[in-house]
C-alpha cells in the first residue's frame, strides 16, 4: 500500500539518487541535472496530456451536441491526436511578407514556455513539487500575465491589421480578468497565512490539526468567480470571441500555420489544464483524499474541473465583447471586493486559535463553525449580488421595452398620418 501511495516520491528519490551518484564530484552539477530532468518530465507530462485532452474534448463536446466525434483514426478514434500531430508537422510553414521575423517566430515559443512554467510550482504529491516557492500563488498569476506579452508579439509580428486588432482585444480581456482572479485568490491566501501552494494544500488536509475542509466550502463565491476568470484567462468558450473563426478571422494567430499554430494550440490547452490544476489546489484540496494515492486524487479533481470547462464549451453560446467587459468590471470586481472585505472582517472576528484571541481579541470558534460562517456569508453575498443584478437587468429590460413601444407607437402614428 505504501509503495502505491508514495509511488511518485519513490521514483523521484530513486532518480535523484542515481544522478547524485553519477555526478558525485560536483553537487552543483547534480542539482542542475536533477532539475533539468524534472523539467523534462513535467513538460512531457504536459505535452502528453495536451494530446489526450484534445481528443477527450472533441469527444465530450460531440456527445453534448448529440454526435459521435472522431472515430475514424484508430479504434474509437484514439489515434486522432496522432493524426492531428502529423497534419500539423507536415503543413507548410509560411511567414507573411514584411513581417518582423524575430518577433513573429518567437511569439508561439514564448506562449508555450509561459504555459509550461506554471507547472513548476504545482504539488503533485506530498513532497513531489518542482519548487516549493514561498510566493507560489503570486508566481502563477505573474506567469499568467507574462504570457499576455507573447500575444501582442504574435499580433504585431504578423503584420496584419486584423491580427493586431485581435491581439489587442484579447489582451484587454486577459488583463481585465486578472483582477477578479487575484481578488479571489486572496481569501485563500489569507486563511492559510502563506502563499506557498504546499501550505495551502496542507491547510485543507487533516494534518497539523487542520479540519480537512476544502476551501470551496469556505469560499464558494471565490471558487465560482475564480473558475469564471480562469476560463476567461485562457480564452476558452464562452469567452473565445476573439479567436472565433466566424468573427475576427481567428484573431491574433491568423497568420500562423503548421508547427507554430500547434504551439499556440498547445499553449491554450496546457494553460487550461494548468488552471484546472490550480483550481483543484486552491479550492478542492489538491492531492488530499482518503483512500486513493494522492496523485490519483489530484488527477481526478483536475479532470473533473476540466470536464466542467468542456461542458461549458459545449453548452453556452459565445458572449459579446461588451457583455464580457461589462460582466467583469461591473459585476465580478465589485462582488469580489465586497466579498473580500466581508470575509476579512469575519476572519478577524471568529478566530480558531486561542493564541490569536489573546493577541488580537475575537470570538473563539472551532474550525467547522468558522467554515460554516464563512460559507453562509459567501453564499449570501453571491445570492444577494445575483438578485441585485437580476433586478437591475429587469429594470433595463422594461426600459428598453418601453422605448420600443414608444417607437412603435410613433411609427404607427407617422404611417397613419
Amino acid at each position: 500500500m505504501n509503495v502505491i501511495n508514495d509511488l511518485l516520491k519513490i521514483i523521484s528519490d530513486f532518480v535523484a539518487g542515481i544522478v547524485n551518484s553519477i555526478f558525485s564530484f560536483s553537487p552543483f552539477l547534480a542539482d542542475v541535472v536533477t532539475m533539468g530532468l524534472a523539467a523534462v518530465v513535467l513538460c512531457t507530462f504536459a505535452a502528453l496530456s495536451f494530446m489526450g485532452l484534445t481528443y477527450v474534448e472533441r469527444k465530450v463536446v460531440a456527445r453534448i451536441q448529440d454526435r459521435v466525434g472522431p472515430n475514424q483514426a484508430g479504434p474509437l478514434g484514439l489515434l486522432q491526436p496522432l493524426a492531428d500531430g502529423i497534419k500539423m508537422f507536415t503543413k507548410e510553414d509560411t511567414t507573411p511578407a514584411a513581417a518582423d521575423r524575430w518577433v513573429y517566430n518567437l511569439a508561439p515559443l514564448v506562449i508555450a514556455i509561459f504555459a509550461l512554467t506554471t507547472y513548476a510550482v504545482l504539488p503533485f504529491a506530498p513532497g513531489v513539487v518542482g519548487t516549493n516557492l514561498n510566493v507560489g500563488v503570486f508566481y502563477i498569476i505573474a506567469i499568467g500575465s507574462g504570457s499576455i506579452v507573447a500575444i501582442i508579439m504574435a499580433g504585431w509580428g504578423s503584420n496584419n491589421k486584423y491580427a493586431l486588432l485581435g491581439a489587442f482585444r484579447t489582451v484587454a480581456q486577459l488583463v481585465g480578468y486578472e483582477v477578479p482572479m487575484l481578488l479571489n485568490v486572496l481569501p485563500v491566501v489569507m486563511i492559510t497565512g502563506s502563499m506557498s501552494l504546499t501550505d495551502i494544500i496542507t491547510q485543507q488536509t487533516t494534518l497539523n490539526g487542520n479540519p480537512g475542509i476544502p476551501f470551496i466550502v469556505f469560499f464558494p463565491l471565490s471558487a465560482l468567480v475564480f473558475l469564471i476568470s480562469g476560463i476567461a484567462e485562457t480564452a476558452r468558450s464562452p469567452f473565445d470571441l476573439l479567436e472565433a473563426e466566424s468573427e475576427i478571422v481567428a484573431g491574433f494567430h491568423v497568420e500562423y500555420s503548421g508547427m507554430k499554430f500547434a504551439l499556440f494550440f498547445l499553449g491554450e490547452y496546457v494553460n487550461a489544464l494548468a488552471v484546472a490544476f490550480v483550481f483543484s489546489t486552491f479550492f478542492l484540496g489538491g492531492y488530499a483524499g482518503p483512500v486513493l494515492p494522492p496523485y490519483i486524487w489530484l488527477l481526478l479533481k483536475a479532470a473533473a474541473v476540466f470536464f466542467i470547462f468542456m461542458w461549458l464549451r459545449g453548452t453556452l453560446p459565445r458572449i459579446r465583447v461588451d457583455q464580457m467587459h461589462n460582466m467583469n468590471w461591473k459585476f465580478l470586481v465589485p462582488v469580489s471586493i465586497v466579498h473580500l472585505v466581508v470575509v476579512m472582517a469575519l476572519m478577524k472576528l471568529f478566530v480558531t486559535s486561542p493564541a490569536q484571541v489573546q493577541a488580537n481579541g475575537g470570538i473563539l470558534v472551532t474550525p467547522g463553525v468558522q467554515a460554516a460562517i464563512l460559507f453562509t456569508a459567501s453564499l449570501a453575498i453571491l445570492i444577494g449580488s445575483l438578485l441585485i443584478a437580476a433586478r437591475r437587468a429587469r429594470i433595463m429590460r422594461l426600459q428598453e421595452e418601453a422605448i420600443l413601444e414608444q417607437r412603435r407607437a410613433e411609427n404607427i402614428a407617422a404611417a397613419s398620418a
Partner: protein
C-alpha cells in the same frame, strides 16, 4: 568564480544591453520589447538578492501591466508605423549622462576619496563620526562584517509593517489614495470626448483666440481698428 557571480554578470549584461537598445532604437515597438527583456533581467537580479516577492511583483506589475500600457500607447499614437526621428540633442545628453555616471561611481563604487571632515564641516551632516574618513566607497564596511541572512518570515514581516501604526501604515494609505486618484484621473484624461464637448472645446478656443487678437490690436501690434466697444470684452470668460 561562484555560480552566482556568473549569473550576475550574465544578467547584468543582458539588462544593460537591453536598456541601451531601448534608448537608441528608432522602432518604438522594438524598444518596448527590449524594455520587457530588461525588466525580466531585473527580476532575475531580485531573485539573486533573495527578494523573491519583488521578483514576482516586478514581472506582474512591470511586464504584465506597464509594458502592455506602453505598447497600447505606442499603437494608439501611430508609433507602430512611424519611426522616431533622430535627435540633435543626443550629444549634449550623452555628455551630461557621462558626468552623472562618473559622480555616481565615485559615490558608490570602490573608488575612494579621502576627505577630511574637519576641513569641510558641512560633510558632518552626512557622516556620523567626524574623523577623517573615506567619502567614496559607500559600499565599504569594516572587515569582518557578516551579512545577516534574510529571515524566513520576511514576507509576513513586510506585510505586517505596512499595517502597523508605528511603521509604514501612513505611506501605505497615502499610496492607496494615490492609486485611487490615478485610476479615476487616467480614465478621465484619456476618455473619448463626446461630440458636445468637442464642439464646446472648439467654441472656447475660438473665443479665446478672438480675445487675444483683440488685445493685440488694441496694443497696436496688429493692424486694423479695434472692433468691439470697451464694455463688451470682459463678458466672455464666465464659463
Amino acid at each position: 568564480m561562484t555560480i552566482q557571480q556568473v549569473l550576475f554578470i550574465v544578467i547584468a549584461l543582458a539588462v544593460l544591453g537591453s536598456a541601451v537598445f531601448v534608448v537608441t532604437t528608432r522602432n518604438l515597438f522594438r524598444a518596448a520589447l527590449m524594455m520587457i527583456a530588461a525588466f525580466f533581467g531585473i527580476a532575475g537580479l531580485f531573485v539573486l538578492l533573495d527578494a523573491g516577492l519583488f521578483a514576482v511583483a516586478q514581472v506582474l506589475i512591470y511586464i504584465g501591466a506597464i509594458s502592455i500600457l506602453v505598447i497600447f500607447a505606442v499603437m494608439l499614437t501611430r508609433g507602430m508605423q512611424g519611426m522616431v526621428p533622430r535627435n540633435s540633442q543626443a550629444t549634449a545628453a550623452a555628455v551630461t549622462v557621462a558626468i552623472v555616471f562618473a559622480v555616481l561611481l565615485l559615490l558608490f563604487g570602490p573608488l575612494r576619496l579621502t576627505i577630511d571632515v574637519a576641513r569641510w564641516p558641512v560633510l558632518s551632516l552626512f557622516a556620523a563620526n567626524t574623523s577623517p574618513r573615506d567619502v567614496g566607497g559607500i559600499a565599504w564596511t569594516p572587515p569582518g562584517q557578516v551579512i545577516p541572512p534574510v529571515p524566513d518570515t520576511y514576507i509576513a514581516d513586510f506585510g505586517r509593517s505596512l499595517v502597523d501604526l508605528n511603521q509604514y501604515l501612513l505611506p501605505f494609505l497615502l499610496i492607496a489614495f494615490l492609486v485611487d486618484v490615478v485610476l479615476a484621473g487616467a480614465i478621465f484624461i484619456a476618455r473619448q470626448r463626446r461630440p458636445a464637448e468637442v464642439a464646446e472645446d472648439r467654441q472656447l478656443q475660438a473665443e479665446e483666440e478672438a480675445e487675444e487678437a483683440e488685445a493685440m490690436r488694441r496694443a497696436g501690434a496688429l493692424p486694423g481698428p479695434a472692433s468691439l466697444p470697451e464694455g463688451a470684452v470682459a463678458s466672455t470668460s464666465d464659463h
